[in-house]
């Protein structure tokens, strides 16, 4: 990796100040994306702002009908949290399938959501549950937050501090892993909340997206059979050496069916 300056602030305010002062600074949380990029010399930040010392970004808490997860909470903590398991078991289950043991003990929800890798797991949960992304400046609805591959509504220097999840009546997640990377090849997060049914698809396309036809089908009949006949169009989906867009489109239907089945 190239040389960079290193900062470890202890408050969000200090972190934001450091990021604002240097447009080439990059925040680092669990480092599961940034560190490999640095090691491959694909990224050359002037400084790294290490968020791991900021206490206010940590912790999982229930606030009425919402579950609030701090940006620094690791996947392993979400997977094993009694609060999460009680409120949104599908979210805990999903977090327990991210990467491998090492990744889950380093990677954080804030890092994953802010990075918005199309093949990451969390964006599907955030969009599928209709969560709210909380930053140091504002609150952003999931529908407005994700803007395609590695792109979000975050402004330069704006820091994601927490994700607030509404507690659904039912939710489920199923995915097919890319055989090599074990990132998501096609995943579907389904949720039924008091505001309606949401279906979010990750892995298959250039960014996480909602599947309107499946949402309608499930609103009418919350059952795996309801989505079994809904075809995802392959147009615009990813195609690579691991599978065609048609294969991924097919997997979306299969995973939707399985997600609904797992939601019960």
């Amino acid at each position: 990796m190239y040389d960079f300056a290193y900062h470890k602030p202890s408050s969000v305010a200090d972190a934001v100040k450091l990021l604002a002062a240097d447009p080439d600074a990059r925040p680092i949380s669990g480092g599961q994306t940034l560190l490999p990029a640095l090691k491959h010399r694909l990224n050359k930040p002037s400084s790294i702002v290490d968020l791991s010392g900021i206490a206010e970004l940590k912790g999982i808490r229930r606030e009425g009908d919402r579950l609030v997860i701090g940006a620094l909470v690791k996947h392993h903590e979400v997977a094993n949290s009694p609060e999460v398991k009680a409120a949104i078991p599908a979210l805990a289950q999903m977090a327990g399938t991210i990467g491998d043991t090492q990744v889950r003990n380093r990677g954080t929800i804030g890092g994953s959501v802010a990075n918005n890798d199309p093949a990451a797991d969390y964006p599907a949960a955030v969009l599928g549950l209709g969560a709210t992304v909380v930053t140091d400046k504002r609150r952003i609805a999931a529908d407005d937050f994700f803007q395609g591959m590695f792109t979000t509504a975050l402004e330069p220097g704006e820091l994601l501090v927490a994700v607030e999840f509404p507690i659904p009546e039912k939710a489920g997640y199923a995915k097919m892993r890319n055989p090599a990377s074990r990132y998501v090849m096609a995943g579907v997060f389904v949720a039924r909340t008091k505001d309606g049914v949401r279906v979010a698809v990750n892995g298959a396309g250039p960014g996480v997206f909602r599947q309107a036809e499946m949402e309608q089908a499930l609103a009418a009949n919350w059952a795996p059979e309801a989505v079994a006949g809904v075809r995802q169009s392959p147009d615009g989906l990813n195609a690579d050496i691991h599978g065609s867009a048609e294969y991924r489109a097919h997997l979306v239907t299969v995973m939707a069916k399985r997600a609904v089945a797992s939601a019960g």
Partner: protein
């Protein structure tokens, strides 16, 4: 009270002596070696598959901090290219095309990753920073990324002097006899298949440290090699012209090789040469990306085969035409793999009376291809065992029955095949029957039906194979074009108090030689295992040996040790006879005790050893003091392990995912020295075979860029991809080496891929699938299910 020592000799599953150091982080690998004043090399690599180098501007790079020197091909004058160790001849008798393989590019690059320049600097990061500052003016040329493209009319030439990109057009067998047999056939099965290109991915990337002492003129190369003497000979004599007494090559602990660390690579010559130029040590360590694009790849065959059968399903003739990808240059043993290590195995375990094979080796703008675990034999086995399954189906015969009907019977050994080899021993019915029993073959249909109730497609596949290893008789391989002898050497150094140091020319890079070879000494001399150490991997310490590959260490290296121990025992008996005042003929030796036959007069091993080094009362007129013997052993034949592998899979028809649910390996590896190590070797080989069958493949785009150049896209098997593997051995002994051993390092990787694919094809039989190319990925299987047949969505 009698204390019975635990049995540690031949047949004991003793724990591996070397594992304490490996598991506690105390192994000494090449990258762990740091020499005083050491510098670091970074190789600038070609980003293009094929390009002319019009100019290299080093000015900015030379001004970078910490830079000690930068060299390009222009600086390496008077240096030879990397040699090829095996000359193949064309059908017409002319020698193969053997274009130069420069250490650093000479005006042209021929694959992505080709070496263009080397920066030597004070730190690794400084070397890399400066390499990035080198400006190379490339004129990009059209590349040939596939054999089909390379052989096409008017294709760009990888090497200007090699017409049609053809390295050789070789054959084995009698075409007239073969053609006649086809004319009389009841049925001819035609079958095309690909053997996918693999990337070895040893856990430890390649590394090399060059050192030079200007006061003595001595060079030392520390390198990740399976055969340090071979590297010393190739690099010293052919590349750098350094006399061997001035060049020491050390291959310390090495973290996996699988063949990829047999070969002499450019980086070894670069660091050794540069250390001499600069009179400073130079270290180079590959990163994982460099490993992907510069370690020699494996396999990569495209084959058309025809099998003639009579009306009873007996094989009458086999005709095989194979294209073998050499990549951009001839790696050290590349040329032997698709010829003498492949086509000579095409009889397999069958009595096919005539086999005719034609092999064209092709240059392409890709990473060089060479031996990878099994080397040629997995390719032959995959072809045969898939072909036999296809033939069974097309003849309407049972898959097991067609094999039985064509097996070489146990009483036909020694058996002369129509493709040069003479098999010494084997019992294919025995390994088949045992595997069928362990795998519960007969009750499979019930498991298939049960899986169906869960929506899964279950299949079972079998492979009955034989391979040739324990390489090799020097005169035989010499006649076939090898430019090396393939004997092995062992020195038994008995110390005055009776402990033993063994110097072996073989090299352990994961196989557990420090245990297995020590067990041979314990078994023969009665010295406890803890008092036997194995020394390997350092040309300054060991006699000239040929290293480890082709499952040769025990069959050839172990046999050399046995010969040396015979000499030790013969001399020790003379010493004992002197002390016991008996005639030598009357002195017996059995695991640590010398006894005058039929009496209670004995001398212990320790007494004899001490006497050899303190020869006060000694037959000094008759024998010399000391107790150290060396033997070289040149095998009389290859060894022929074989066996039966059975694989059971379940396919999720919705996703195409294949789950290997069971794997049975019953192998005949000859006498087993350490059953635990054999089991581990077979399991590791099977893991690599499953990797080839289901997961791994190197993919190039049409411009010669490697698309699967990292673990993000190249799927190595993980623990979760692997089934429980039940391993059993059924030994028939090798008849021509003193231990009766055959070798177990490659059988897993050779026997397993066709068993897996046969199982996948069986699981998909309702869709009329004739063949599926490796790797059988989920997407590929989904395409098969959904392209033509009932589960088609639309």
């Amino acid at each position: 009270m009698n204390v019975v020592a635990p049995f540690e000799g031949i047949g004991a599953s003793v724990k591996r002596k070397e594992d304490l150091r490996f598991l506690s982080g105390r192994g000494q690998y090449t990258d762990d070696i740091d020499r005083p004043g050491q510098t670091y090399a970074c190789i600038l690599r070609s980003p293009h598959a094929h390009a002319l180098i019009r100019g290299i501007d080093l000015a900015a790079a030379k001004a970078m901090p910490g830079v000690v020197a930068i060299f390009t091909g222009a600086d390496m004058t008077g240096i030879g290219g990397l040699p090829c160790g095996w000359q193949i001849h064309n059908k017409d008798g002319s020698p193969m095309a053997e274009p130069p393989h420069p250490v650093l590019a000479q005006g042209k690059v021929r694959h992505v990753g080709d070496s263009v320049a080397v920066v030597i600097a004070g730190t690794r990061a400084q070397a890399r920073d400066a390499a990035e500052a080198i400006e190379v003016d490339y004129e990009v040329l059209p590349a040939v990324a596939t054999m089909e493209a390379a052989l096409g009319a008017g294709a760009p030439r990888v090497h200007d002097g090699v017409e049609g990109n053809l390295c050789y057009d070789w054959h084995i067998g009698d075409p007239a006899v073969n053609a006649a047999a086809f004319r009389g056939a009841h049925k001819v099965v035609e079958f095309d298949l690909v053997n996918n290109r693999l990337i070895p991915n040893a856990m430890e990337p390649r590394a090399a440290v060059g050192d030079y002492d200007p006061t003595t003129g001595d060079y030392t190369l520390y390198t990740t090699s399976q055969n340090p003497h071979v590297i010393r000979l190739l690099m010293g004599a052919f590349v750098l012209q350094l006399p061997e007494h001035k060049l020491r090559v050390v291959a310390p602990d090495v973290g996996g090789g699988f063949g990829s660390k047999i070969f002499h690579y450019a980086e070894e010559a670069i660091v050794t040469w540069a250390a001499g130029k600069l009179a400073r040590p130079v270290k180079w360590t590959a990163d994982r990306t460099e490993s992907f694009i510069t370690d020699a790849h494996g396999r990569d065959h495209v084959t058309k085969a025809r099998l003639a059968l009579d009306k009873d399903g007996r094989f009458l003739a086999l005709h095989v035409r194979t294209l073998a990808n050499m990549g951009a240059y001839l790696s050290t043993f590349s040329t032997s793999v698709p010829t003498y290590l492949y086509a000579t195995l095409l009889a397999g375990v069958y009595t096919t009376p005539t086999v005719y094979a034609e092999v064209k080796a092709v240059f392409t703008n890709t990473t060089p291809v060479d031996a990878y675990r099994g080397a040629g034999r997995p390719e032959a086995t995959f072809l045969l065992e898939r072909l036999v399954d296809v033939a069974a189906r097309e003849m309407g015969m049972d898959r097991v029955e067609i094999r039985r009907r064509n097996f070489i019977p146990a009483d036909a050994y020694p058996y002369q095949t129509p493709v040069a080899l003479q098999y010494d021993s084997g019992d294919h019915v025995a390994t088949l029957d045992e595997a069928l029993k362990v795998a519960q073959w007969d009750s499979f249909e019930a498991r298939r039906a049960e899986a169906k109730t869960r929506g899964k497609l279950r299949g079972i596949g079998i492979s009955t194979y034989l391979e040739a290893c324990g390489i090799a008789p020097s005169a035989v391989v010499g006649a076939l074009g090898a430019r090396a002898g393939l004997y092995e050497v062992g020195t038994i150094r008995v110390h005055p108090t009776g402990s033993v140091t063994v110097l072996t020319g073989t090299h352990s890079h994961g196989q557990g030689h420090e245990t297995t070879l020590a067990q041979l000494v314990t078994d023969r001399l009665g010295v406890p295992l803890a008092q036997v150490d194995i020394v390997h991997g350092d040309t300054a310490k060991i006699p000239f040996g040929m290293g480890t590959y082709g499952s040769r260490s025990l069959a050839v290296g172990g046999s050399a040790m046995v010969k040396a121990m015979d000499k030790i025992v013969a001399k020790a008996r003379k010493i004992a006879a002197h002390l016991l005042e008996a005639s030598v003929e009357d002195v017996e030796f059995d695991r640590g005790t010398f006894r005058v036959a039929g009496t209670d007069r004995t001398k212990s091993w320790g007494e004899i050893c001490l006497t050899a080094y303190v020869p006060h009362n000694y037959p000094i007129e008759e024998i010399e003091p000391g107790l150290e013997e060396t033997a070289f052993y040149d095998p009389k034949n290859f060894t022929y392990p074989g066996g039966c592998h059975i694989c059971e899979v379940e396919i999720d028809p919705e996703t195409g995912h294949v789950d290997v649910v069971n794997f049975t390996a019953v192998d005949d590896v000859g006498r087993v020295i350490n059953p635990m190590i054999v089991e581990g070797q077979v399991q590791g080989g099977v893991a690599q075979g499953i990797g080839q069958a289901l997961l791994e493949t190197a993919v190039y785009d049409e411009n010669g860029q490697l698309l699967s150049a990292s673990f993000m896209d190249y799927q190595m098997p993980r623990a979760g991809d692997l089934p429980p593997v039940s391993v059993a051995t059924h030994a028939t002994l090798c008849t021509h080496n003193p231990l009766g051993v055959k070798g177990c390092g490659e059988v897993g990787a050779i026997g397993s891929p066709p068993a897996v694919i046969n199982a996948v094809v069986d699981a998909l039989k309702e869709f009329g699938v004739r063949h599926i190319e490796m790797p059988a990925t989920p997407a590929k299987i989904w395409n098969i299910i959904h392209a033509d047949h009932k589960l088609a969505a639309e």
